[in-house]
Symmetry: C2
Subunit: 119 residues, 2 copies
């Protein structure tokens, strides 16, 4: 079946959540949002491209920081309302300079920091 | 720091996306939504509990199917607007009986099915 980005299910703002996972380690790096056009650009360019809700603009991951995400595999879930991109991540994925955005765990009711910023 | 579920960032509907990842294999299994109370119940019970947007009710994963998700680790992202739960998944996570909801890949413009339903 030929893939048609317009046949994904976008929310009221025209966005779909996209989970980025490290293709080699399996680590979940971040979650951000894509518009239909961001999906198209990601697939065409092989550079993971989100829609920035704060800037209301396309966000080619790493374009300014250099911490690019090279697309390895693009997956759609059963309901067609969530995406999983496996990526080759250069440097940290998180704006705090940590490898992953999910660096805080909740254990026995306390927040525990699992990762240091990369140097 | 003591964790307070009310200090996560919920969307206009009072929900936060939660990614479920297999704690052993690292496979991303599904993405669903939690309300503040679902977060609380997940942490208290150790049984991953979502909010079903279609049923407008709590959804203790596996309660009817037996395909439960035992909570292994609960993580919060840098923006506090997305959760990652690592889980021990009994049986398939997907309602299509597949291990993961992300069983469709897009490769060279075509949709490719990566997984068979579990028997």
């Amino acid at each position: 079946m030929t893939f048609d980005p317009s046949r994904l299910k976008y929310d009221a703002a025209g966005l779909i959540p996209a989970i980025a996972q490290d293709a080699d380690s399996g680590e979940v790096l971040m979650m951000a949002w894509m518009s239909e056009e961001a999906v198209r650009r990601t697939l065409e360019s092989g550079r993971v491209t989100y829609w920035s809700r704060s800037r209301s603009d396309f966000w080619i991951k790493g374009e300014t920081s250099g911490n690019v995400q090279e697309l390895v595999d693009f997956r759609v879930d059963c309901d067609r309302d969530c995406l999983l991109v496996t990526v080759r991540q250069t440097g940290p994925a998180c704006h705090t300079n940590r490898r992953s955005c999910f660096y805080t765990a909740v254990r026995e009711g306390e927040e525990v920091e699992l990762m240091e910023p990369m140097s």
